[in-house]
């Protein structure tokens, strides 16, 4: 096992390490190092365990938080009985089954994909799953991380394993350096626009190239986060010194001699010279511009100054109709009603700093509702220590408590039918941010630029 004859990819190495069994004609039994749980997709799994009279095989490898249906208003007053029942159920399940839960009263609570990395739970070389498709976020650390359904949540709780078919590999190489005002969000929107919302189906994407290496951890998380929007099972970035610097001294990161040993192991993870991917795609970072989606899937994105495309398919016709936009027209200058800065894509401290650069000394345009929602309490505290909350408030934006908020609109934070929102989240599906609502996905810079101008605006003019 120590002397592989063929060069291996990062994915090959993690996969091989975690295969517990592989019977002929069956999917592999894959061991799971870290299982993250939230209130929406877990109750049925715990109920399944109860029905079978099973416990958790390794409760210490499961960590729970509350994020999707939690309020973000001061005082965290839950107005919705169903949401309350769901949150109470998770708290009870965690007590009954011995799972660590960062609940409503925890000052370490936050969006599941924000707190995993910031607590140091997410580490290179791990397998990580969660009943949530944006689990791909953790791939930024060189961990194989993917979303699973509730039945699989039950499987992992009971056995710490999953049945998995081996995915294919897709390399997305981004050469060069991102120009000023062009962010990781723009990069990933450009990737999805290029390969399509099913371009990654069946695959694990490894992001490589100079532009990726130059990204900080938060930007890498933004990129990996949206791998699922290209249909991929997971996204990966090889770990390097940037990764280790981020992880060092975090609460659950190894310490002392264990840390040294861990880093030595992690250094073996990156893809070997000459390792082959099933498919490779190359992008030039220099050529990228701020991106914005105009349609109803994350692949329907354009460079912000481009005109809208022609309706080239039924899906695009449907999207134009839902969005009430006209093919061939510019999107820049289009009036907007709501701006949302937050989510597991862009709710980290680096994202808030970006938004603050635009908000600083400016005012939110009249009639625009702007929500800034930190991804976790740690992010919130850090932002407040840096005075970012003041910048947002002085600009006229709402500074909220952490949670998924308007990304999924389950907690009462939502847009109205017919309204246009510029959102830093990851999905522009019909009704995602509120029934009948229309979403333009963009970076924190572009979202903030829209907030202060009241319309779709190239943020580079405001930097």
């Amino acid at each position: 096992m120590k002397s592989p004859t063929l060069p291996q990819t990062l994915f090959d190495k993690i996969w091989q390490e975690h295969v517990v069994a592989h019977d002929d004609g069956c999917p592999a039994v894959l061991y799971v190092d870290l299982h993250l749980v939230h209130e929406v997709t877990s109750p049925q799994a715990f109920a399944g365990l109860r029905a079978r009279g099973l416990g958790l095989r390794r409760p210490e490898k499961t960590v729970a938080t509350m994020d999707h249906s939690t309020p973000t208003t001061p005082g965290l007053v839950i107005v919705d009985d169903q949401a309350r029942a769901q949150l109470q159920q998770l708290a009870k399940n965690c007590v009954d089954f011995g799972v660590q839960c960062y609940g409503l009263d925890s000052d370490q609570r936050g969006i599941v994909h924000v707190i995993g990395p910031e607590l140091g739970l997410t580490q290179p070389g791990m397998t990580i799953v969660c009943g949530d498709s944006h689990t791909a976020t953790h791939g930024a650390f060189g961990a194989l991380a993917f979303g699973i359904g509730s039945s699989e949540v039950e499987h992992v709780l009971a056995t710490q394993c999953l049945l998995q078919k081996r995915p294919t590999s897709l390399e997305v190489r981004v050469d060069g350096m991102l120009p000023r005002g062009v962010t990781a969000k723009d990069l990933i929107l450009a990737v999805i626009a290029r390969i399509g919302v099913d371009g990654g189906n069946g695959a694990v994407i490894e992001y490589t190239g100079d532009a990726i290496r130059a990204l900080d951890m938060e930007a890498r998380m933004t990129v990996c986060n949206m791998s699922i929007e290209a249909g991929a099972r997971a996204g990966l970035v090889a770990p390097d010194d940037t990764t280790y610097q981020y992880l060092a001294k975090r609460q659950f990161a190894p310490k002392g001699a264990d840390w040294e040993r861990a880093v030595a192991n992690w250094r073996q993870l990156p893809s070997d010279e000459g390792a082959e991917y099933d498919v490779s795609v190359v992008l030039d970072a220099q050529a990228l511009q701020p991106m914005i989606t105009w349609g109803t899937n994350p692949g329907q994105g354009i460079p912000i100054n481009d005109n809208l495309p022609d309706a080239r398919s039924g899906a695009e016709e449907k999207a134009f109709k839902y969005m009430a936009l006209e093919p061939g027209k510019p999107l820049v200058g289009h009036p907007i009603d709501v701006v949302f800065v937050g989510s597991c894509t862009n709710g980290r401290i680096a994202d808030l700093r970006q938004a603050a650069r635009i908000f600083d000394g400016r005012r939110v345009a009249t009639g625009v509702r702007t929500l800034v929602v930190p991804g976790s309490y740690a992010v919130k505290r850090q932002a407040e220590a840096e005075g970012l909350d003041r910048i947002f408030r002085d600009a006229g934006a709402e500074w909220r408590e952490p949670g998924c908020s308007m990304c999924i609109a389950m907690n009462g934070d939502q847009i109205e039918a017919g309204q246009y929102a510029v959102s830093t989240s990851n999905r522009n599906f019909e009704g995602r941010q509120g029934r009948g609502g229309r979403t333009f996905l963009a970076s924190p810079l572009t979202a903030a630029a829209a907030a202060v101008t009241g319309k779709v605006t190239d943020p580079r003019a405001l930097l």
């Binding site: 061991y31 390794r58 039945s151 029934r435």
Partner: protein
Amino acid sequence: MKKVEIIRSRLNPLLVDDVDTDQIIPARFLKTIGRVGLGANLFADWRGARFDASSDARILLAGNNFGCGSSREHAVWALADFGFQAVIAPSFADIFQANALKNGLVPVAVEAAVHRHLVAARAQDAELTVRIDVRKSTLVLPDQEEVPFPLDPFARRCLTDGIDELDYLRQHEGQIAEWEARHARG
């Protein structure tokens, strides 16, 4: 799991590409802690306009990349609770497909030409009936033409023999314990 071998039904067409799980079951209906009753809100925002909820067909005829978006198994529970036993589409999103198979909802991926043929035939004849043979993993068209669809052998066995994946996993207890012992941190 309940065994699934033969499905015979008319088709309920929903011919939109990239139907995401937010459309199948909008997030506002995810605040349930159970898995039943979700059928009442299947395609809640598309009823009438795009989805015919009055049809009692057991097979959904869908477009490309069906079930993309979130990992919510609620999407599959909603389809199954509504009464669907299979979805025929040119392709499916990964997690949706895995979730479907775990709930006895058969994802039938057919080639574009077969799909076009079915769409056209269904447009001509609302009573058009097809048969899905899970054991052979074939779709039998009204003219008796039999077209294969991909179904990995394990998934097929789970469906036809009613094998429960968790039971299967638990049979590997010995190997799991060995793996853990090998990887125990010193």
